[in-house]
């Protein structure tokens, strides 16, 4: 009996670092978030990922589990972000004929849209006296997570603040664009999708795929082009201005 207790004790010390603990928690929170989302009748202002993240944070806070330990355990899952980013090349290729047909508006819209997606927020934060670290964390806020993480590290920002910024940006862009498109009676899936991808990165793209395959393709296109474009101009500009 006492041996069993000893084993239980060592198990309790080991479990938090285990990959399966992190993955079970993440997946369980994800599906619970999806359920909660459906139960709340799919509110546009609160995507399932926000609900799921709150549930996961609550689990981590209640359980004797360190965030750093969790991060290490869940690495197996977050690694998939790499191949998932590569996979975005497939819808991009499938929609190349759209890019060919619309290269002019895309070439004219993308640079100002991507620059303003960073510029407005950094400008407002700078006017309100935010610290340089906060500015560097907010700058890549409209870029898809794997690229944005690389950019913010190069600028000297905080990855976790960036993640929060990405979430708020994704939610606000999705909400804002949905409301604006309705207000303007805008039905063109290409425009809505592109705007969702440029401003709302992966969260906007998920929403665009819900609207339709064309919107999804244009969102992936907008997201990829914004990511690549921002990764190239932002570090240069930062160096120049700062």
């Amino acid at each position: 009996m006492s041996e069993l207790l000893l084993r239980l004790e060592s198990l309790a010390g080991e479990l938090p670092q285990r990959t399966e603990t992190a993955i079970v928690l993440t997946l369980a929170a994800y599906f619970a978030g999806l359920r909660l989302f459906a139960w709340l009748r799919s509110p546009a202002w609160c995507p399932p990922i926000l609900l799921a993240s709150c549930l996961l944070a609550l689990c981590l806070a209640l359980l004797p589990l360190d965030y750093a330990e969790y991060r290490q355990g869940v690495e197996w899952l977050t690694w998939l972000l790499g191949p998932a980013t590569v996979a975005l090349g497939v819808p991009l290729y499938q929609q190349v004929h759209h890019i060919r047909a619309l290269w002019k508006p895309i070439a004219l819209t993308l640079p100002p849209a991507a620059m303003l997606a960073a510029g407005y927020a950094v400008g407002i934060a700078w006017l309100l006296n935010a610290s340089p670290q906060v500015l560097a964390s907010l700058a890549p806020k409209s870029v898809t997570a794997p690229i944005a993480m690389g950019i913010t590290q190069a600028l000297g920002g905080s990855v976790s603040l960036l993640m929060g910024a990405l979430l708020i940006t994704g939610v606000m862009a999705t909400l804002g664009i949905t409301v604006m498109a309705r207000g303007w009676r805008l039905k063109d899936e290409r425009i809505i999708g592109f705007a969702l991808g440029v401003n709302g990165h992966a969260i906007g793209t998920v929403r665009a795929f819900e609207i339709g395959p064309t919107a999804g393709a244009f969102a992936s296109l907008g997201m990829s082009l914004t990511g690549v474009f921002t990764a190239l101009w932002l570090p240069l500009m930062w160096h120049f201005v700062g």
Partner: protein
């Protein structure tokens, strides 16, 4: 059969990721390996002009999982919120106002520049 197809597609995606990683490090390009891999895959597909069933089978589930994959990073903010004490109002105002402004600008620009689909059909 379907499982093998997904695995073969996954091999392709991972190989492009690896290739992207090598190129990014070799030439010190300020891109993440994933983005470099995505660009390489797109160029390769454009050159071959053929999309294999395997790649589609592996890509679709991965893209559907994107929200799940960024969750662990998102959760981090709840545990490091103290570092930015006093700056939260600024952060929220900048993010919310900045994002709404930039979304509005993109929609406005695209609406002016994209030709209507109905006109396109007559070309």
């Amino acid at each position: 059969m379907r499982m093998l197809s997904i695995l073969r597609g996954f091999l392709g995606l991972a190989a492009f990721l690896l290739l992207g990683d090598i190129l990014v490090r070799l030439f010190a390009i300020p891109l993440s390996s994933g983005v470099a891999g995505m660009l390489l895959l797109t160029f390769w597909l454009l050159l071959r002009r053929h999309l294999s069933h395997d790649l589609t089978a592996a890509s679709q589930p991965l893209i559907g999982m994107l929200a799940l994959l960024i969750m662990p990073g998102v959760v981090g903010i709840f545990f490091q919120a103290g570092e930015f004490a006093g700056q939260w109002p600024t952060i929220f105002i900048a993010l919310i106002a900045g994002t709404l402004l930039s979304s509005w600008t993109t929609l406005w620009l695209m609406r002016r520049l994209v030709p209507d689909t109905r006109d396109n059909a007559h070309e």
